[in-house]
Symmetry: C2
Amino acid sequence: MSRRLTVAAAQLGPIQKAEPRAAVVARLVRLMETAHRRGAEVVVFPELALTTFFPRWYEEDINAADHWYEQALPSNETAPLFEAARKFNIGFHLGYAEIAHEADETGVVRKRHFNTAVYVHPSGEVVLKYRKVHLPGHREFDPARKVQHLEKRYFEVGNLGFPVVRAPIGQAGPVNIGMLICNDRRWPEAWRVLGLQQVELVMLGYNTPSINQDAKGFEAHHLRVLHSHLSIQAGCYQNACFGVGVAKAGVEDGCELFGHSIIVNPQGEIMAQATSWDDELIVADCDLDQCTLGRTSIFNFAAHRRPEAYGRIVEQTGSVAPAEWQPAARTAE
Amino acid sequence: MSRRLTVAAAQLGPIQKAEPRAAVVARLVRLMETAHRRGAEVVVFPELALTTFFPRWYEEDINAADHWYEQALPSNETAPLFEAARKFNIGFHLGYAEIAHEADETGVVRKRHFNTAVYVHPSGEVVLKYRKVHLPGHREFDPARKVQHLEKRYFEVGNLGFPVVRAPIGQAGPVNIGMLICNDRRWPEAWRVLGLQQVELVMLGYNTPSINQDAKGFEAHHLRVLHSHLSIQAGCYQNACFGVGVAKAGVEDGCELFGHSIIVNPQGEIMAQATSWDDELIVADCDLDQCTLGRTSIFNFAAHRRPEAYGRIVEQTGSVAPAEWQPAARTAE
């Protein structure tokens, strides 16, 4: 193994609504210490890793939800994470709700809310920031749902694209890193935009309920894990990269999250899997040179892709109905 | 089940180089009869289903390979297929090498070669034609390979896009059908272009060797089936459609093809799987209304897709290297 990176996925058990940030950060620091003891050079925490998955709670005034967001990183409450990173010489990926005071597309500076992830170098410097593009759920209170899913209410669509950066991580030397957040992992477009930038390691956190409230009978519960794994495994295989998919798991605020965090290689194989619904660390040795096979053979994009046939992917948002077939006889009538 | 379509996948065992078309067509007709007895309304045959996978054989003059192609469909040799379709009232999907005398992009009419598939109505009329877009392999003889893979030599890139048509099939009423061929199934762009046209049933044939000659040690043989299934299952799940992936299987001209044809539902589940390396028919009842859940909830494209973030998919063919991260300290130097 010439470019070996030891990666840890730090699954979190539930974070109940009342749990203070300081207690959560203490859990993260313990996991980071465990990761260090197991030789990991980078640890990946899930989406919205500092709080409960608050988009299940409705607030008529969205500003009343601001206490779930980070106004700065690090803050007094999150500083111990940065200190631990320095102490253990370990980089970390963290998902959190972000409030940013910045200009919108009209140029007006205002308070903006994003579902965000960062990769932080052991030095404490933020190397890469990503803001979730594919926000699932709905904007308004839905009386038909037992549990709300208000991501479209609480977050703006991410405005940073799908960035990839070549950054030093551990002993492997520079690694091309990118991020997705939760629902993004189901969208092959998102993986492909990362793949087109030669991503080698995709870090992604998720909070996904075990029950699909939209299903109305069609979707067996066990398929929820299949869908998550299928999307990550296909994304890694088809873009010749490693993926670290890290869950919040267990019964949080009465809502079950299915967990089953995985680390996946460029062959689409699961290298490690969490099987509890609790704080759980899994580790895998990633030989980054394994990314080479796919991108120089079957997924040599320059040799094989045909963008002239992909126009609909950017020209359409929703789907359109196809034409009806007209049998020759009928056409002649 | 309100819109039930009974679908058969007719896997083929090997077709050796010397096997005459008439013998192959007789095998296809027997499979079609079996499909009819099992209640199937449509039967899907593989890619290049009338001959051996001839792109493994090099010809310096590509016109010397013309005997592998169909100049017309039906021909005297393929007419029994069309007769059987009428007799059994069953539609069929057929992959074959096509010679077409038609204008190229410069307007000049010339002899052109494509890797083609058609869906034929029980009446014998061709409902939909597709020509393979993602041609794998290479154009020139490669002395380093034990077996050649000359698809880029023998075929032009398909010029029909990824068409979908709404056509009557069986008792289900009109069904939105589309096609992929072999290597296309690994490309999520191809699936998405079909999904954006509300495809409900994707028919796809393949000829895939058990050994990846490009792998040089990294790729365990059993992963080849994983990759095929992963791509089809993810494509079906992420586009909320059924998929019928049908192989040529077994040792053909000394080259092993891994088979493992599958029928997949919109949840990404495998409903039926061939496990021999021989002519083998598998059947599944497809409730086309199962396509509705995905496309009205998690994969409601109009509600959730973000084409403004997908630009690279059409603006780039090959990948580009990402920027190097510049630590703040170094930037200040």
